[in-house]
Amino acid sequence: MATQLEPDAHADEDAFRTEVQQFLAEHFPAELKNKGNALAGVDGPTDETPAMTAWRKAVGERGWGTPTWPKEYGGGGLTKAQAKIIDQEFAKAGAYNPIGGMGVMMFGPTLLEYGSEEQKREHIPPICRGEIRWCQGYSEPNAGSDLANLQTFAEDKGDHYVVNGQKTWTSGGQWADKCFAIVRTDKSDKHRGISFMLIDMDAPGVEVRPITMISGTSPFCETFFDNVKVPKKNLVGEEGQGWTIGKRLLQHERTNISGGGRLASMMGQSLGDIAKNYGETDADGELADKVLRDKIADFEIRWNSFLLTARRAVEESKAQGGVSEISSVLKKVGTKLSQERSELLIEIRGLQGLGWEGEEFTDGELEAVRGWLFGKATTIYGGSTEIQNNIIAKRVLGMLDHQ
């Protein structure tokens, strides 16, 4: 029987691959080849060109931007193997996935797990079509690493809540249509007094102020809620379940921050090659600055073993049907190494690597500077490195809580 099934499975895969190729040939605009997916990120809005709109709609209608999500809510309803084929064929064609952002990375998977039928029908399809941008209402001025200390309060008014308070570090808040937020519904219980609710960003009483960062950009905002009415149907799960749901969402966030694939694509060219363009080489064609050469090799070796670790975490998780315990180190290791790389790039380029603006600097140089500065956030957000260390020590290594 098994020998009978296998060729069929392969034939199905081949047929699906052909379908994807045909779809690309028909719908992917040539002018977008090898362009990044700016819209799907949280970094900023783009003026969508007609070609970009057409591409987003084409992929969104098929549900192929969220290939494994259920078809009944607008997803692709595909298997992981088929999703992989989409990835491969898109990559081959130089096509990006136009469906993304926090809705896809964090909120959607969480709502599929905890949302009511009505909520899924309302919110998941627009995410699959890339029509709605979501932002995250988590941190507050006095609730950073100690997130459960949040004070934004939702007062029960019968058929709706009235929300008052302030959120901060709201990524992409100035461009978002909706916000998934954790708010306090009970002041007497730190963790069980938290609820997860969905707030319209254009509701009266919502005010957003972008925060200028050390990188000169403003990807984060302060968000103020002043007597904002939130209908009861926008409560996800039950009252008091917000901490559980909110933490589940953070797991999705971490996976995305540390995802080896995304970091790997950021890394691009080897530092050794870049250094040869900026510095002297000796008679053997090696970097003449041997101290710098040693630092680069030291970094690249550790970076390679990080990529191997990310791959191993995926393989182990698949094999054991649960999250592998080494997944817990990916965020802390990956973000630290990315920061190290940015610092090394500056050392390689000297002051040419510290340009703020001006035509004397290449785009690559300027982007690296902004990336170096913005990258300092990666060891703070999504659970700081110190919080990650607590999680590893307590949950993985079984080291006890302070008595």
Binding site: I301, R311, R312, E315, V333, I392, K394, M399, H402, Q403
Partner: protein, 356 residues
């Protein structure tokens, strides 16, 4: 832990059971106390060979199982955990040289004996205190090999030496023209300077120009596998200790300074394991071996160095005593860090492989 096949899981479990029950660190203490220069228990090695461990990388038609380097690494890792003293790693490295570079005749003559444990072999490359295969003075003329090899692992137990000369690798049997001067190192294992004075030598003619590098890469990944076992053991022992030891009316494991240090070591150990397993798998796959082996040994050096030091620090005063095992791991660690490439040697090699 890499995802293993059934065969590999059985092999690993068998090695783990045997090392835990038959070869705990107390066995290494006995070997040390015996003071014998070959520094291993010959009966124990015979048992290991009977279980097939000496033939894991040897082809089936020459008496091995041909399971490959990933499988060999699993066994070596388990033995590393209990510091089992044996010539298994040295013999496996030497066997790989014959597998890669030997004629049919040489293979038929030696591989079955290496697989059965009857013959112990070792690789002799370096001529000074640092690993440096680019400065070999040993030479051969008229089938006679002359030169001095320094700090050769398992030299006292070896019946056969695979010796690097200027023009390639040679097989030299112990006996006429071969003399040993013991070099006692911190790990209390067998090391000797070996003087070859016109010893009869049989060249490994196959394997091409890269034979020595290919063999050294196999030496690097297997040594890294032993180091992985050691690092894992020190980490586990230290974690257990922190969960028991009470100071200031609290178990040490509740102190955040120590929790965060252990989280760092856990991450380092994860990186080391990924690199070492990938190195072993690269040898089996035959692709990107030089780079993968360099990364494997470099990460093994970095992480075992840190963990062996932290093992002592976190045990506190008792970690300094001979009664506790943790010091043995430190003293073996540095010897293996120097073997087949220190961290600076490996970083240089990695940069060369990347053309910078």
């Amino acid at each position: 832990m890499a995802v293993l096949n059934e065969e590999q899981e059985m092999l690993r479990d068998m090695a783990r059971d045997w090392a835990t029950n038959e070869s705990p660190v107390t066995e290494f203490r006995k070997v040390r106390a015996s003071g014998e220069p070959h520094a291993y228990d010959k009966d124990a090695y015979a048992t290991m060979a009977e279980m097939g461990w000496a033939g894991v990388i040897i082809p089936e038609d020459h008496g091995g199982s041909d399971f490959g380097f990933m499988s060999a690494g699993l066994v070596v890792e388990e033995l590393g955990k209990t510091l089992t003293a044996s010539p298994l790693v040295a013999t496996t490295i030497a066997a790989s040289a014959i597998v890669l570079g030997g004629s049919e005749e040489q293979k038929a003559k030696w591989l079955p004996k290496l697989a059965s444990g009857e013959t112990v072999a070792t690789l002799a490359v370096d001529e000074g205190a640092h690993h440096d295969p680019s400065t070999i003075e040993t030479s051969v003329s008229g089938g006679k090999l002359t030169g001095k090899k320094a700090f050769v692992h398992e030299a006292h137990g070896a019946d056969l030496f695979v010796v690097a000369a200027k023009d390639g690798l040679y097989l030299v049997e112990k006996g006429d023209g071969v003399s040993l001067a013991t070099r006692k190192l911190t790990d209390q294992r067998s090391h000797a300077d070996v003087n070859f004075d016109g010893a009869a030598a049989d060249k490994l003619e196959s394997g091409g120009d890269s034979l020595l590098d290919d063999v050294l890469d196999r030496a690097r990944v297997l040594t890294a596998a032993e180091m992985l076992g050691m690092a894992q053991q020190v980490f586990d022992t230290t974690l257990d200790y922190l969960k028991q030891r009470v100071q200031f009316n609290q178990v040490l494991a509740t102190f955040q300074a120590l929790q965060h240090r252990m989280a760092d070591l856990f991450a380092d150990l994860a990186q080391m394991r990924s690199a070492v397993e990938a190195g072993l798998q690269a040898v089996d796959g035959g692709f990107g071996v030089a780079r993968a082996a360099t990364i494997a040994k470099a990460e093994a050096n970095r992480v075992l160095h840190t963990i062996s030091n932290q093992g002592i620090q976190l045990h506190g005063g008792i970690g300094m005593t001979d009664e506790y095992d943790v010091g043995f791991y430190l003293k073996r660690a540095r010897v293996l860090e120097a073997a087949w490439g220190s961290s600076s040697y490996l970083k240089d090699r990695f940069a060369k492989l990347g053309s910078y």
